[in-house]
Amino acid sequence: MRRVAVIGTGHSKFCFNSPKTSLEMLAEVSLDAMNEANITPKDVQAINVGNVLGPFEEGQGMIQSFFANDIGCFNVAASRFEGACASGSMAVRDAVMWVASGYYDIMLVGGTEKSTAMTTGLATRTFAMYGDSRYEFPSGFTFPAVFALLAHLYSNQYNIPLATLKEQMAAVSVQSHEYAMKNPNAQIQKPITKEDVLKSFMVSTPIQLQDACPFSDGAAAVVIASEEVAKKLVKRPVYFAGLGQASSGKLSSQYKYLPRIRARELASQQSYRMAGLTPQDMDICELHDCFSIAAMIAAEGLGFFEYGKSGAAWEKGETRLGGKIPINISGGLKAKGHPIGATGVSQVYEITRQLRGDMAEQGRQVEGAKYGIVDTLGGDGVLLSMILTNQ
């Protein structure tokens, strides 16, 4: 397999109620990514797009082929990926494998979502479609409820009093808001305190509003190319070193490991193994913090902290710039925003720019970063892991 690099990146501001359509947002960031990669649309041999709820949001399915033509990539192969919140990461991983195999030299990967075009009722109903519809939805399945169950389980299994756990969860949200204020693309640009989190309204015990990411609109794109092509086109390619993907069944049937998500551990082990690296080698991480408790579970599953210890790590600042492993220095899903089809691509954008040293001007650069890891969770069951490097 050939080495594959990110050679161009584009990212919209994530927001509530974008005046643009999913296609317009995606076209704009894709043109940015192509400009940065020093290519034109005719150089793009194939396109992958992450988009989850387009049919419900805008009455628009099959967005990928219209998108290809909108940006002047006429008649190329264009594929849409749907794996709930991990759709964008699936689109990236798949494209990397096509280029690694030698089938294509240059691909464009984008993700776009316009979740806020739906009413809250429709959004809640359609998001619940990514849990089990046959045996879990009839009891009132919602995603806050799933992570709330995991929070109670986490408290119980690791013997952490709920009040202590709630403070730790609040620390996760507080840190994300702080870094989002340095990220011009972030949806939420205001600081919050622990007290704000603990005072926010209860969604599903013990999860409160400020433990949860918002509904978002937004898009992100990257151009990827083989190493040989990348070196001709750009000065600072950022390479994919490891890839992993695994699946789990519905929550009730995940027997031995909860609140750990076993598929995440398997996916990240695949990517560490492929890269020949360990969690200790990572300099920065973007992980899937759809809820504060989800961030804690993810950081443990990726091997950064012992089980039951990540909340304390957040409180001690080990996840901050200069800490043991800087996590979600973008603001994360919590404050950067979570346009579900775009999220995985946005995470790759963030790690790429960190590894290129581009974040200094925003005051959130991880100095000397060589290796970064992306972690994305889709619904109950799609887990993606990707390691990137500037080495």
Partner: protein, 122 residues
């Protein structure tokens, strides 16, 4: 086989029936083609005791799903026979619920389901 239909249809007897694997003597939830533990193909349907414990839970305070009026308790119940299912806990003061609490099954009628298994404190 039409597993989903069989699962919901058998609940109308007033009991929870699940697939049972005679080869490894374990119950299987959710219903499927083969035993997930030993890959046995011939699974029976057996009634369960309907007794179990709360594995974890949440009190849903906000929901925009029209079928579900908050507050309601969404829970994973671990049955005495060793399987877990997602369900609701009813007839239970919200402040008294906790992980590990013993519960028993109760069949209710909810829109779209003539017999839906929920659990109440045992």
């Amino acid at each position: 086989m039409d597993y989903k239909h069989t699962f919901w249809h058998k609940l109308r007897t007033g009991h929870l029936w699940l697939q049972y694997c005679p080869a490894c003597a374990r119950y299987v939830f959710y219903p499927r083609e083969r035993c997930p533990h030993c890959w046995e193909a011939q699974l029976d349907w057996q009634p369960l005791s309907g007794m179990g414990r709360i594995y974890s839970y949440t009190v849903v305070r906000v929901s925009a799903l029209p079928e579900f009026q908050p507050p309601y308790i969404y829970a994973l119940v671990e049955l005495d026979e060793g399987v877990r299912l997602a369900t609701n806990i009813e007839d239970c003061p919200l402040e008294s619920i906790q992980v590990g609490m013993p519960v028993r099954i109760k069949m209710i009628n909810r829109e779209g389901h003539e017999a839906l298994p929920v659990f109440v404190p045992a």
